[in-house]
């Protein structure tokens, strides 16, 4: 219906405003009447679109509905006369339109192929344009977005640490630094934010939510306005005690509060860890058009909630700022450097400023333009196809036009007639393309990597529809101009059979166009196979575990059967021995409760039908990368004189973890429940007591080149734990397919108080079991809140979203181009066979065998293919250089890729010629010569 409403824009505005709503409603009623009958629906759409186009044209020409059959009724009022003048021109044009329509209807094959071809090209280009338009062309949705910068505190010393691989150069700045940055003349304004994953615990609803703590200035930098209530004020930036206020983004207001107008003053219960529940009252709701710099938060709290202890020197906030007018980003970075570094702090942090538009769009720009370019090439292929068809059509119509010219039809009249015909074709094709785009755009958005900014606002709007219509009309007019001009200059003398065969001998233009089309198709095929190969290379790297059938459930325990009071490392070191023992005792009692608790949940999950294995894990979920840094521990081999330290991921798992993850034990053995040990082993502060651990191959390679099983690992101070290696497991990818293997240390969940992720291996579709899993967890322990559920394959998919998007889209384009090229080749060959009937007849009469005739036709295709490849290969080489940075482990000029693309193209082209060739070989010379 949206498409129909768009189509109604063809009507003059006054007409549309008066009748549009009623018309759309009536059409909806008509659709309702044929619901459930696909053919009826298709027919109704076809008639409905035709009806709108036709009557819109008439309405625009001000041709009224003739109500009466009365002869010679004349009204002499000026408006009526003007209308009659219009009518005269209009009826001339409308005759052209009728004629054109009739011609298009009479040549259904030509019309259908042209409309489908052009529609495909226009549709893809339009759908891509709607994305490019929303993401790249429209300015970012913030005031003065060009002057916005992210201000990071960078820790170069951490660059080499795998635990900080993705975060070392995107660090936070400290609270005092924020205050000083605010005063700096280099910035007009500086806003800060920090995010936290919390649990929304309003009665009856329990869910994991993203909470952002933001400063007043942060909201004003984003140009955020309230739809209701108020925003934070300056007091709430600083006042820790008073700040019990919360702001709802529009989406949250709609989704969680039903868009009720009376939410102001309502209470929101949030907790970031068990026992930490707080209540804040809603003071405002943001407007729907507020856009955030990242995935939007669910709730906004004032930055003043940051505990006073964090406000001294520790970096706690992310900062963005708007440069003062005329200040360059380099100058601002220089001004920010001493502030971010901090006078007292020993912390070696330096400032890094990144322009916000560059940061958000930088990596998206080139791929999107590349894809848009690909859509453009596809459109060109489609245009070439239609141009070829029009040329062939023109050759076939010389006769008809010559008759008309000899009967006194002027050149202008012929030209106008042809132009109107082409316009009609273009409009219908554009409408088809627009329909395709309306259908394709949501698919594109669903397929696109979710983090593209502006993706939410992608829509086929008037601007995009205008683009499609313009494309359709322009392409047909441009590519129809040649044939139309040639045809309109037809002389009456060409109305003879001699010249008919004479023109047929010069199909060079058609052949050249088809060759060009093949060349363009080759470019798309090469791109498609380059991107496809990239995706293949990426995903064929071993993960080290088996993600199939693996469901991932993130949980948060809201209630623990005891008070948690973990000392900091410093506090721990300051304890007396007796205090430590007491602490360990308490800790152990706690652990015992939690792991029996976890074991209970796992046992119930294991009992679900379809579940093969279940395990739980602490924070370091592979591909669960929400954390900016991951728990890691520096380790050395016990007794290693060099004291070489390796930082390893600290993986906290349950007994069946390796079985659930599908990780084979390479050497040694896996965990057994006995490994949890007797309480005394952990409770005693005895340093020699060790914990059983399993290491990854990489850790073994780095610390124990001659085998790790049976050896002991020592954690560097302040941790000091000792681990006994009982087994070795393969390296697994933690974040992405391209990463190098990183050392990991696996220990049983006896070292944590809570688990964070449950992993369930299923025999069937893991997504199908999620509801049952949720229910099981709720039944087992209502205070254990499921904050998110997903599957491992989905998590992995997110990391290759860009590559997959490119590969899918470019192969769709490549496939479409191949299809169009096949149509082009087929129509060339078929047309040529039809034109050369006489010649072929003569040849057969003179003794040519069917194989010779077939060869004759195939030779022509081969010629076109050869020229096309000669043309396309250099172009494809240039194009592949442009996409070089998007490739992985594939050379942009890989002979395999080029060879494959060329072979596919040639095969398809020859296959498309088989039918016309065999038809040619069956030409009966007796019939032909008698014609």
């Amino acid at each position: 219906m949206r498409f129909y409403r768009l189509l109604l824009h063809l009507f003059p505005r006054t007409f549309r405003e008066a009748n549009g709503a009623d018309m759309a409603r009536q059409f909806a009623d008509e659709l309702q009447a044929v619901r459930g009958r696909p053919i009826g629906v298709a027919g109704l759409w076809a008639r409905g679109v035709g009806d709108v186009i036709w009557h819109a044209v008439l309405a625009r020409l001000r041709v009224g509905w003739t109500l009466s059959d009365a002869p010679g009724q004349v009204d002499r009022s000026p408006s009526r006369l003007a209308r009659r003048a219009w009518l005269a021109v209009g009826s001339d044009l409308s005759r052209d339109f009728r004629l054109g329509t009739r011609r298009l209807v009479k040549a259904p094959a030509f019309t259908l192929i042209s409309v489908v071809t052009l529609g495909l090209g226009i549709g893809s280009a339009t759908a891509l344009f709607s994305v490019v338009d929303a993401v790249l062309l429209r300015p970012l949705p913030w005031p003065e977005a060009k002057r916005l910068v992210s201000i990071y505190g960078v820790r170069p010393d951490r660059a080499a640490n795998p635990a900080f691989a993705s975060s070392w150069n995107r660090g936070q700045v400290s609270w005092p630094a924020w205050h000083q940055l605010r005063e700096s003349a280099a910035f007009e304004a500086v806003g800060v934010w920090r995010r936290s994953r919390q649990i929304f615990t309003n009665p009856g609803i329990e869910d994991g939510v993203d909470v952002w703590y933001v400063s007043k200035s942060f909201l004003s930098l984003l140009g955020a306005d309230e739809a209701m209530g108020r925003l934070f004020n300056a007091d709430e930036d600083d006042d820790y005690v008073q700040a019990e206020t919360i702001i709802l983004p529009h989406e949250t207001w709609l989704r969680r509060f039903g868009g009720r107008p009376d939410v102001i003053g309502e209470k929101v219960h949030l907790a970031y860890q068990p026992g930490s529940e707080r209540v804040a009252s809603i003071i405002g709701v943001l407007r729907a058009d507020v856009r955030f710099t990242d995935q939007p938060p669910d709730f906004l709290l004032p930055i003043g909630q940051t505990p006073p202890v964090s406000r001294t020197g520790t970096p706690v906030v992310f900062a963005i700022g708007r440069l003062a007018p005329g200040v360059s980003i380099e100058a601002a970075a220089a001004a920010a450097e001493p502030i971010v570094r901090g006078a007292e702090s020993p912390d070696s942090r330096s400032a890094r400023l990144v322009s916000l538009p560059d940061e958000l769009l930088g990596s998206a720009r080139r791929p999107l333009w590349v894809l848009f370019g690909a859509a453009g090439i596809l459109l060109l292929v489609a245009c070439a196809n239609v141009a070829g068809l029009l040329i062939a059509e023109a050759r076939a119509r010389r006769h008809e036009i010559a008759v008309r010219v000899s009967l006194g039809c002027g050149r202008a009249r012929v030209l106008r007639q042809l132009t109107v015909e082409h316009l009609l074709l273009g409009t219908v094709a554009a409408a088809a393309g627009l329909g395709l785009a309306v259908w394709m755009t949501p698919l594109l958005v669903a397929m696109a990597p979710a983090r593209l900014p502006g993706l939410a606002s992608v829509a086929v709007d008037l601007r995009v529809a205008g683009f499609a219509m313009g494309l359709g009309v322009l392409t047909v007019l441009i590519f129809g101009a040649g044939p139309a001009l040639t045809l309109s200059s037809t002389r009456p003398t060409s109305f003879s059979s001699d010249s008919r065969s004479a023109t047929a001998r010069h199909p060079a233009a058609h052949r050249a166009i088809v060759a060009g089309e093949l060349g363009l198709a080759l470019i798309l095929l090469v791109c498609a196979s380059l991107f496809g190969e990239t995706l293949l290379r990426l995903t064929s790297r071993p993960l080290g575990f088996d993600p199939s059938g693996l469901a991932v459930i993130s949980v948060e325990s809201m209630k623990l059967p005891f008070e948690v009071q973990s000392p900091t490392v410093e506090q721990y070191l300051a304890m007396s021995r007796a205090e430590r023992v007491a602490h360990h005792d308490a800790h152990h009692r706690r652990l015992q409760t939690t792991w029996t608790h976890t074991a209970g949940v796992l046992q119930r999950l294991n009992a679900l039908p379809g579940v093969v294995a279940a395990a739980a894990q602490g924070l370091n979920l592979p591909f669960g990368g929400r954390l900016s840094s991951v728990p890691s521990v520096p380790l050395s081999a016990e007794g290693d004189p060099s004291g070489r330290l390796e930082t390893a991921f600290n993986q906290i798992v349950t007994d069946d973890y390796f079985e659930t993850m599908g990780m084979p034990i390479v050497r040694g053995r896996g965990f057994a429940s006995a490994d949890r040990g007797e309480p005394a082993a952990i409770t005693s502060a005895d340093r020699s007591a060790s914990t059983q651990a399993i290491v990854s191959r990489e850790l073994e390679r780095r610390l124990f080149p001659d085998g790790a099983v049976g050896r002991r690992l020592v954690a560097a101070p302040p941790y000091r734990s000792v681990y006994e290696v009982i087994g070795v497991v393969p390296d697994i990818k933690q974040r992405q397919f391209t990463e190098a293997p990183r050392p990991s240390l696996y220990v049983l969940d006896s070292m944590v108080t809570t688990i964070h992720h449950l992993l369930v291996k299923t025999a069937g579709d893991p997504a199908a079991i999620l509801p049952a899993v949720r229910q099981t967890i709720r039944d087992y322990d209502p205070s254990m809140i499921v904050t998110s559920t997903t599957t491992m394959e989905e998590l992995i998919g997110e990391t290759i979203a860009h590559e997959r998007f490119r590969a899918r889209l470019s192969s769709a384009f490549g496939g479409a181009a191949l299809l169009l090229a096949a149509i082009g080749i087929y129509s060339l060959a078929a047309r040529r066979v039809a034109e050369r009937r006489r010649e072929i007849g003569v040849r057969v009469a003179l003794g040519a065998r069917p194989i010779h005739v077939r060869r004759l036709v195939l030779r022509e295709t081969l010629l076109a293919v050869t020229v096309g490849l000669l043309l396309g290969i250099p172009l494809a080489v240039v194009t592949s250089q442009l996409v070089r940075s998007l490739l992985f482990e594939v050379s942009p000029t890989s002979p395999r890729v080029f060879g494959l693309a060329a072979a596919v193209l040639a095969t398809v082209a020859l296959a498309a010629t088989v039918l016309p060739a065999s038809r040619a070989s069956r030409i009966d010379p007796m019939l032909v010569l008698r014609e």
Binding site: F15, M23, Q26, F27, D51, W65, T66, L67, S68
Partner: protein, 125 residues
């Protein structure tokens, strides 16, 4: 509108039918279309065509956009579902009624003549 009724006759059949349908009750576009199709069969008028026709008829002063009576509204709502309320209703103008009457008389005269000349024999039921 200073129109002589005679200038508009004979009406196109569809226009006359529309006037007849509207003679006893104001209707909205969809109900008009359904009624016309019930009488004539065939495909229904599609929106583009229908509203251009209605526009022309309004411009010529034959019909006008009217406020429907509550009874009409209720009937229409029962006919075609919940949306009937928001549609525009069309009704005859006095000029339209006059034109329809004149056309009917013209046709009646034709029918009588045909009967006199034994083209048709049966009395209308």
């Amino acid at each position: 509108m200073a129109w002589d009724v005679r200038h508009v006759l004979p009406l196109k059949p569809l226009v006359f039918q529309a006037l007849v349908v509207l003679a006893d009750a104001d209707r909205h576009g969809w109900s008009l279309v359904q009624e016309l199709q019930r009488r004539n069969g065939g495909n229904r008028l599609l929106p583009g065509n229908l509203y251009r026709l209605l526009n022309s008829m309004v411009a010529e002063g034959l019909i006008d956009v009217v406020e429907p009576s509550p009874r009409e509204r209720a009937r229409a709502a029962a006919d075609t579902g919940a949306n009937a309320e928001r549609r525009r209703y069309f009704g005859l103008t006095s000029f339209g009624r006059e034109v329809a009457r004149a056309e009917a008389r013209r046709l009646e005269a034709l029918v009588q003549e045909s009967r006199r000349k034994r083209l048709i024999t049966t009395r209308p039921r």
